[in-house]
Amino acid sequence: MTMGEAMIGDDARALCDLAARLTEGTPFAVTVGELRSRLDEPLRVAIAGRVKAGKSTLLNALVGERLAPTDAGECTKVVTWYRNGIGYDVQAILRDGGSRSLPFGRSDGRLSIDLGDLATAAIERLEVTWPSKALEQVTLIDTPGLASLDDENSMRTRDLLAMGEDRPSDADAVIYLMRHLHRRDAEFLGGFLDRSVAASSPVNALGVLSRADEIGACRLDAMESARRIAARYQADPDVRALCTAIVPFAGLIAEAGLTLREEEATALRTLAATSAEVLERMLWSVDRFCEPGSSAVTVELRRSLLLRLGLFGLRLTITALQAGPTSTATDLAALLVASSGLDDLRAVIAHHFLPRAQVLQARSTLAGLRSLAKELEATQPAAAREIGTEVERVEATTAAFSQLRVAHLVLSGEVSFEVEERAELERLMRPGARVADRLALDPSTAGDALVQAALEGAGRWRERAASPLGDSALREACETMARSYEAAYLELAGPPT
């Protein structure tokens, strides 16, 4: 982590403390308190996408438990937060500002929440507190699908992400699920990103090509197909302007792998022992798979296997069992998880979001303070001015922010860089990377050569920044590139003596 990033959190905290002093005793104190505590919480990652893109399934796979309800029809109707905690608890935060504890239970591994007589329209959001290692670093937010037929649901997601509104988003980052990339997906991502530049950037959006097993018609090579498609999208400048990385992911397969039960493995083993010819025909279609009489496994059990694994999961596990009939439930679970793309997804989250968590959170906080300043203008103009000025000062002087801003300008296409230059930028500004990596040099490179490279980079970009041909945004980008090389140089040179 660079020094700038270590400091940014402290800067934001100091700002919150200032705002807290200025708003003490006013109704705004609560808002400030929330902004302050947000900095010490895990990163808030919203999971968004069109209806039935597989958002809840992805959430369950990331947590490793079946917390979010999944169903063939549209089923997430309320924005739901899943956060880590010591005990188990479900709260409904109501529109009128109140909240209510809700009874919940688990059946068949699934979490079920009883809304009782609460109308979904009265609920602002649900907060599920669940002790989970996976939720220690991120708070996950499940959202209703966009372009849903039920307008109310779409609106909820738009509210959460503050799309098209001049207020900060509740989420620090977003994982956007798309099946094949669709105009509405692009629009949505664009909407998420085009709020004020300071608050938005392709750097906090990650694309997931979801239900990847279905893209390849559930064939055994479906995931390879999906990987190929994801790679193509990632190379597309229009898509890169919206999110930095796109990973293929078969949520159902991952979820099934993480929660596979011994009895399911036993049933799969029985199925795999069916004669090859009968089995081939059973796996032609979902209806054939469930036809009575074709297997000793009961129709109910087959149907539940089908719902859990999908045709791809069935084909995958049964093929594996035919080759190695001794495979255990653990083996099958590992195979499913490995095939699902979950590891890649986790790696990308770890790589893109977590190292930047401080900056992303600070950015949300700063955006919150800026809008607070605007609200204060009427009642406490002096305080509003002071907060506004401080926010601007922090934004302007923090290296991590300018890096993020330049990454945004370049990735969103506002400043055009050559492909190699863009790669250089991504490398140079990669949070938490070692100096040699940032300079694209071998880790064993001698200190002198590193210093040389850092100076060369700084000089090169300074020169480019001085060119009279560029506009102000390009100049800013070039200067930030140069400063980043200088920062690398300073790190190499050690603290000033």
């Binding site: 037929l149 099946r179 105009r183 479906a222 999908g310």
Partner: protein, 613 residues
Amino acid sequence: MTQGAPVPSAADAVVTQATALAELAASLGRDDLAERLQAAVARVRRPATVVCVVGEFKQGKSSLVNSILGAPVCPVDDDLATSVLTLVSHGEQPRTDVRRRVGTEVVVDEIAGETLSEWVTEAGNPANEKGVERVDVALPHDLLAQGLVLVDSPGMGSMGAGQGAATLAFLPWADGLIFVSDASAELSRPEVEFLHQARELCPTVVFALTKTDLTPEWRRIAEIDTDHLAADSNPMTPLPLSCALRDLAFAHHDRELNDESGFPALLGVLDSEVFAPASQLAADRATDDMASVVGQIGAALEGELAALTDPLARSEVAERAASAMERLEHLRGPGARWSIVVADRIADLASQVTFDFRAAMRHIVRDLEDQIELLKSPKDWEELARVLQTRVAEAVTAAFLAIEQGADAIEATIVELVADDLDDLPGFGGRHGDIDVEALWAGKALDPDSRRGGRALGSALTGLRGAQGGIILFGMMAQFLPVGVGAVLLAAPITLGLGAAFGGIQLFDAHKRKLAQRRQQARVNVRQFADDVQFEVTNALSDALRDLQRSFRDELGLRIGELQRTYADTASAATAAAARDEAASAQRLEEVRGDLSRLDALQGGTETGLGPR
């Protein structure tokens, strides 16, 4: 159905009668009339029907086309999506033609079928950079041989906006529409909205729920979709389909699998909802053709009969025939009233349609320029691009519809004028002696209410679908239209130029001066785009009008030619009667009476079989 659909029985009767009448006409030496009837029979047997396959992107449209035909015609891939309109029709030899635009020229190249994906997919031809207007695939196939033309469309809602609008504009000219949505998710709002519009534009809409082999919960999705459509007051039931099972059924020759695939049901719907009405329409036209042929053969035979039975009448028959021929000759010439009227009316129509189109374009551009000033976010700008595209598509459609409407009116005037000119055209007595001039134009006899389509567009659409339009004079236009509008809408610059007009402009910059500059650039681009569209469409419109005028002349020329031959034959029969000896005359008389009674029998069949029209 794949083995060839049975032609409906009413149409069968028409085919039998028309064939018999054609034989009679041929035996009397009237090859021209026989040909007319044979053409009518061919139309009944093979009614040209255009069925469009539409839906959002990656729902399995190309797979569906392939599975209907049981042949890998359209490229299918997990990734590659179709980006160009593909028309699949019957041909004795497989053949693939790519129509594309190079500058202002349209170039047609024959390509090898295997290389099709290089032209029609996003990967081979990203954003249609090769400027492909459409691809025509011909292949020998039973189903296509019945006259089916399948249209595989690019998915609506891929990143390049506006293709949805182009697809909608194409629909008024389609006989049927297969809307494709896969079973992996319920219908989205845009899909429900599209289906609503489509139902208003196209008489037969089938909702194909694909990929049922992969989706365990497809029945639930079907129920949910049914509910959504009912809630939208557009009740429809999805038809579950599996292309994978259909392909397996072909590979394993397995009838049960084929039934499971749902395709027999789809073909059944196409048969009863698309082919049967088209075939009925063609049968109605054939009936009118028969009436005209019966009238002419009857008049000639009555004339000869008169000359044979009454030697004194011979010269009168010859004189009458000669005077009729003279008048017909005039009618055929450039001085005929109808000819002048057609030229005038086409010119009027041209200036009216062009004027209206230009006015519409001007209006669109002005609105857009106003809105450019008000833009706040890039999303507004994209929205504006979509609005522009939709409104231009509407303007183009309206222009072509105006031509169609105008053509109807012109046709009615011509029929009236010609009927008036030929009002006292001499007959030869007897039951068949008088020629019903109005019956010459079969289309006139069609009841306009029976024509299909155009619900949303009021009376503007006169059922000019496929080649089955009620207007016989309009045969050529009918073929031109779907292609014309479709091609204009899908081709450069409407879809291609839009990228240039709307891409690459950042309207939202911190600097005011720069913002003004960019808005100015946006206005320039919009105007340039509008100019390009206007140029293209005006050319297409004048081509359409020229074709229209030519088809009027050709058709009328043919009909007058037939009449001339009828009178010429009668005149020579009268002369021949004078030259015969008594025995030969008696024999000829017997023959003519025989022919007349055969004609009566056929005509009786026509009347009892199909009722008076």
